[in-house]
């Protein structure tokens, strides 16, 4: 094979399997998966994704913007439907992650219990991805990490009745399926795709931000952790994958810091602001980004770099509890 033939071969071998998958889906169409299922999947993916990204993460954990009570309830309820835990617990773990990112005490660092070699790396990645969820002793005391969320009665209600919201996250796509097809079977496959399949995809995207987002990717800022910007994850994570930017400026409402860094959550927040439904939106201008980048460059980043106190501030007996950590 000459060079040109070789290139053609690679092109065909790359594209043909993809066409095969599409063909397979078309053949299955209307038997096992129909357009109504895709609609249920899409709607639920957007609701749960925004709930986690815009709601749990930017609104609640980092107070990147403020909004009206109904919208705050909507975002928290949507986040609960994602099935990643009650808002209070989620926020407590997340704030702790920022306090001691990639250092002892981080609930989900891929460098946890670091071992050398490929096996050690995979073990670390697995721990950051999902493994940490199964750690029995793990608890981030919400009283220390998020008294502000606890003082919100609505957030306490949603946290307490969390499982009902998860069930609603399965019932709702079932309802969508029923509305579109008018059959009970349609309701069931709708619940399957918009519920279970959607849990799988949406949650693995979030997990990937914790695992891949601290392992593979570009670092714009030499933050004292291993956070990375992962461009290919940006679309499906609604912008959460600009994770190095986020660790550099945790309170920023936008995790994308350039026009080409797609951040759907930031667009939603901007839209709400235009509609006068959001205010106190935290923005970091280019000048400030560059000043901080320069300062970190001198200190040298990475997980061995000096950062916030060795022991999570909120866990010191005399510490005033606050959320000052995140800026």
């Amino acid at each position: 094979m000459d060079g040109r033939e070789h290139y053609t071969f690679i092109l065909i071998s790359a594209l043909l399997p993809l066409f095969g998958v599409v063909a397979a889906i078309v053949l299955l169409w209307n038997k096992l998966v129909g357009p109504a299922d895709m609609v249920a999947f899409g709607i639920m993916y957007v609701i749960a994704g925004l709930g986690v990204s815009t709601g749990y993460h930017r609104l609640l954990a980092h107070r990147a913007f403020q909004t009206t009570r109904p919208l705050r309830i909507f975002f928290a309820a949507a986040g609960a439907m994602a099935g990643q835990g009650p808002p209070i617990t989620w926020v407590a773990h997340h704030r702790r992650h920022h306090r001691v990112a990639d250092k002892p005490g981080d609930p989900h660092s891929p460098y946890h219990d670091e071992e050398p070699g490929l096996k050690g790396a995979l073990k670390g990645l697995w721990h950051a991805h999902m493994g940490w969820l199964f750690e029995r002793g793990l608890s981030s005391d919400p009283m220390r990490y998020c008294p502000d969320i606890l003082r919100d009665k609505d957030m306490r209600f949603i946290s307490k009745h969390f499982t009902w919201f998860v069930l609603a996250g399965v019932a709702l796509p079932g309802l969508i399926g029923f509305t579109l097809t008018g059959t009970l079977f349609g309701a069931m496959t709708g619940a399957l795709w918009g519920g279970l399949v959607r849990f799988f995809f949406a949650n693995h995207v979030t997990y990937a931000v914790n695992s891949i987002g601290h392992y593979f990717g570009r670092r714009r800022f030499a933050t004292p952790d291993e956070s990375r910007n992962v461009g290919w994850l940006a679309l499906f994570s609604f912008g959460e994958a600009w994770h190095n930017n986020h660790h550099a400026f945790p309170r920023s409402a936008s995790h994308g810091m350039r026009w080409y860094e797609l951040d759907i959550s930031a667009l939603v927040i901007r839209g709400l602001e235009r509609l006068k439904l959001a205010d106190h939106v935290i923005r970091i201008d280019r000048e400030r980004q560059e000043a901080k980048a320069l300062a970190w460059e001198k200190l040298g980043g990475g997980r061995h770099a000096r950062s916030t106190p060795a022991k999570p501030l909120a866990e010191r007996r005399t510490a005033a509890v606050g959320i000052v950590d995140v800026e």
């Binding site: 981030s140 009283m143 606890l150």
Partner: protein, 81 residues
């Protein structure tokens, strides 16, 4: 004034009957001995805040070991009001 009975009933309510009826709850009961999760403890503390219209120092509430500690903290805040 927050009483031990009020606190005990809040805890029983939070545990939704999972606590055996004959479990003794008094000032010396340790919070961690009842099997409450950190989320449930905070639920109790912040419900008390709401009902009495006060704010506790969450760091001090988090350091409370026994129900007596929690009561003392709550009532000291109520007194200074």
């Amino acid at each position: 004034m927050i009483t031990i009975d009020e606190l005990a009933s809040l805890i029983r309510q939070e545990m939704r009957g999972k606590l055996p009826k004959d479990t003794q709850i008094d000032e010396n009961t340790r919070l961690d001995s009842l099997g409450l999760s950190s989320l449930q403890v905070s639920e109790v503390v912040f419900t008390l805040e709401d009902e009495h219209g006060v704010e506790f120092d969450p760091a001090r509430a988090a350091n409370a070991q026994t129900l007596g500690d929690l009561l003392a903290l709550g009532n000291s805040v109520l007194e200074t009001r």
